[in-house]
Amino acid sequence: MGKIKTIKDYLSESSFFEGMKDDHLELLSGCGGIQHFKPGDFLIKEGEEANSFYLILRGEIAVESYAPASGPIMLSRSGPGEVTGYSWLFPPHRNQFDSRALTKVDAIHLDGKCLRGKADNDYELGYHLMKRFAQLVLQRMHNTHRQMLNVYGTEQQVDTSGQ
């Protein structure tokens, strides 16, 4: 019979937490637990206090914003190995978008409030968390800027003269 994986095992296998010290992974896993979601369930809800983030183990989630006229607008999509939620780390700790399960989702829920406390007491842990989330935020910001640019434009390959 195979060994049952612990939260720490999942975290140490994830590329997001790659390179983190063993005792930091131990601290992180103390704030984590596995959660299961059905399609349509919200992992994170816009406007609510941001006290958690998720490492997706299985399934797909959408980051969305709801517009009354058109319903949910999908802004990005994430799958296994990816992290959703970073508002927990930065004041005012309020979720700006929804994260909703598109399929059955298994994810590690990490309690941001618990982590913020641990990071305040251990600056090295705080630095490593901040470094990883800053990279994630930077990547999302670059992607968002490109989405805003409309890189597929109206200028087209096949009509090169605009004539």
Binding site: I73, M74, N143, E155, V158, T160
Partner: protein, 280 residues
């Protein structure tokens, strides 16, 4: 059959009959043309023809159909200007003038035995479709084929009815992304460069072909180089204002290249220094 191109006077348009029109997406039409005297209409994937709408003018349009079909040519045209507007209103039975084929081709020989990564943005999928057809019909000569396609929204996905059958082929994987979508969309959301991180490929065994607006190709090229692809294994299809299509008038000059003659398909190491120069 004799070739359609007029060797004596390549500036002279050759009359073709519109035999079919098909609206692909809003404002975008595919035209199927056949020569009025059954002349051979050949091209290699990546090449373009000059399409002449009498009374309106001429535009360069890449061929988007099968290169193995020599009795017809397919062009996919977005209504973005006066000539393309006129092209988008032609009817079956109308006559359109053509000159060509012109320009360089996608590197079908160089890519043999290697995986092929195709990255298309918006209407840039149209000039890549002939190469996809070729790769599928000669799948034994190539490794894995991956198509990464990005477009603005689910309403602007080109050749939508072909993407799913392509993805079902053993030799091919298709990933489509849009900038934003409603809840029914099951594909990816984000810019096409994000798909490069999700696609599995061996950089040393992969030839990459990309086509789309230049800004999209610039970001794509950066992402491919970040994945350790060599610039000599990356090919881009450039666009500039083409007029004569013969490398004479100089209107499509891009640094030392004439896009109509040396391009439109160029190896990245031929042009990467120009990518960094503004207003070239």
């Amino acid at each position: 059959m004799t070739p359609a191109v007029n060797k004596k006077n390549p500036m002279l348009p050759f009359p073709c009959r519109v035999i079919e029109t098909r609206e692909e997406i809003s404002g975008c039409l595919s035209l199927v043309l056949r020569s009025e005297d059954n002349a051979e209409l050949s091209f290699m994937p990546g090449q373009f023809y000059m399409l002449y709408v009498f009374g309106h003018g001429e535009v360069p349009i890449s061929v988007s159909g099968f290169s193995s079909e020599t009795d017809r040519l397919v062009f996919t045209i977005m209504n973005v200007g006066s000539v393309t507007r006129a092209l988008c209103t032609v009817q079956v039975g109308d006559t359109v003038g053509i000159r060509g084929p012109f320009g360089s081709t996608w590197p079908l020989e160089q890519a043999k035995g290697r995986d092929v990564l195709i990255i298309a943005g918006g209407l840039g999928l149209a000039p890549l479709r002939p190469v996809i057809y070729h790769l599928i019909s000669h799948a034994d000569d190539y490794g894995d084929i991956t198509l990464l396609y990005g477009t603005r929204s689910t309403d602007t996905i080109l050749f939508q009815d072909e993407l799913a059958p392509w993805d079902k082929l053993d030799c091919m994987q298709v990933l489509v992304t849009v900038d934003s979508a409603g809840p029914d969309w099951t594909g990816h959301v984000g810019v096409v460069t994000e798909l490069i991180d999700k696609a599995v490929f061996n950089p040393s065994q992969t030839t990459a072909l990309t086509c789309g607006p230049e800004i999209m190709m610039r970001f794509t090229v950066h992402a491919l180089l970040d994945q350790s692809l060599k610039s000599s294994d990356i090919f881009v299809s450039m666009e500039r204002n083409m007029k004569c299509a013969l490398g004479i008038c100089g209107r499509c000059q891009y640094g030392p290249h004439f896009i109509c003659k040396d391009g439109p398909v160029l190896r990245l190491d031929q042009v990467d220094h120009l990518f960094k120069v503004r207003e070239v």
